[in-house]
């Protein structure tokens, strides 16, 4: 009887010891994340951004942009290009409204804003033509 109890306890010690080791590793790796001020960026979204661009789904780029702006005042790391594209798209969209409204001040301010954003687009500069075409 005693031998059986000892055997069972030895097995339990083995299992708990293993769990202890795993927890130790889990805890050691967790210190890397301790005291973060912001959540980690999701780099996987970049490929999704390219996919959306490929399909001219600017609505979805804007959707991601607005969702980000709910908690971010500026582009988080890795999202800079997406922010610039979305900002240009929004500015282009608003230009039509200001034109219909006939607000010369806003038209001029919007045109200036678009030119500024264009300079930040880099390899995505081609989207300006695409967006302008879609808004015609």
């Amino acid at each position: 009887m005693n031998k059986k109890i000892k055997l069972i306890m030895n097995i339990v010690i083995g299992i708990v010891g293993l769990a202890f080791l795993l927890m130790l590793i889990y805890m050691i790796t967790s210190f890397e994340y301790a005291g973060r001020e912001k959540e980690d960026p999701l780099p996987t979204d970049l490929s999704v951004f390219e996919y959306k661009l490929k399909h001219k789904a600017y609505n979805e780029i804007l959707s991601t942009y607005y969702a980000q702006r709910l908690s971010e005042l500026s582009a988080p790391e890795g999202y800079e290009d997406m922010f610039h594209v979305a900002e240009y798209t929004h500015a282009a969209f608003m230009s039509e409204i200001y034109s219909t409204k006939g607000d010369a001040g806003k038209i001029a301010a919007n045109a200036s804003k678009r030119e500024t954003i264009k300079k930040t687009l880099g390899k995505y500069a081609y989207i300006t033509d695409e967006v302008d075409d879609m808004l015609k």
Binding site: A57, N59, F93
Partner: protein, 250 residues
């Protein structure tokens, strides 16, 4: 006790009579009994000893198991605490209260520039709760209008700038539905704000937002003044049907 042979007095442990050498049956029986008892005593002693050792070993093992379990639980709790998502919103909200006067002035700047979308982006980005600071009181009536304006423009953008790929996910109906809901809300909040807002400058901003929504619909949905007025008179569901007809070019 005496010897049966010579009647000499015998001790209880004298196996033989020291005088005649005759055997003492009582002492022999006694010696046998003692031998048997000693064997039994020794056996019991060993059993007790074994049981004591066994309890000690089991106790040691139990202590090891408990220590390992407590250690594992403590480490798990530390890890969960370290991996937990941060809550920056609490600090952001405190910041919005602390800098309420400066932020309210900045918000006025966006309104004066006519950038109502950026006004709302600023509100959301700073997680401004309008009831938390007196400096935000002046936005009491204009803020709901700006919020609905923001939603209307946002959903109109989603509708106009959708992918032209027929195989791509089509969210037009959802966006139309959302737009119509926010458009009706915008009309309601605008009407309310116009009658209650005392600040003349803000009155102008409200009228400006109203005008821009009208221009957005006219510009992007090919409506003239008459069509817009008719559209305004439709129910929410009929507005959605009308927008779908226009945007799908049916």
């Amino acid at each position: 006790m005496t010897c049966k042979n010579c009647k000499h007095t015998l001790g209880p442990e004298d196996l033989k009579c020291p005088k005649c050498g005759a055997e003492n049956p009582f002492a022999l029986q006694h010696a046998q009994n003692m031998q048997q008892h000693e064997g039994e005593f020794s056996k019991t002693e060993k059993e007790v000893e074994a049981a004591t050792i066994s309890i000690k070993e089991i106790g040691t093992r139990a202590v090891i198991i408990i220590a390992l379990l407590i250690g594992s639980i403590v480490m798990y709790m530390i890890s969960v605490h370290n991996y937990a998502d941060p809550h920056p919103e609490v600090a952001v909200q405190k910041d919005a209260v602390k800098n309420a006067a400066a932020y309210a002035d900045e918000m006025d700047g966006y309104l004066r520039a006519g950038d109502y979308m950026e006004f709302m982006n600023f509100v959301y980005g700073h997680d401004i709760q309008f009831v938390n600071a007196d400096a935000y009181d002046r936005f009491y009536y204009i803020q709901p209008v700006a919020k609905d304006y923001y939603e209307c423009i946002k959903h109109l953008e989603y509708m106009i700038l959708r992918s032209d790929d027929p195989d791509y996910f089509d969210s037009l109906n959802t966006n139309i539905s959302n737009f119509c809901m926010y458009f009706d809300s915008f009309c309601e909040t605008t009407k309310n704000a116009k009658t209650r807002e005392k600040n003349e400058e803000y009155q102008k901003f409200i009228t400006d937002m109203e005008e821009e929504i009208r221009c957005a619909l006219m510009g992007y949905c090919s409506m003239d003044d008459e069509a817009f007025e008719t559209f305004m008179g439709l129910s929410q569901a009929k507005k959605a049907v009308e927008l779908e007809r226009i945007l799908r070019h049916e």
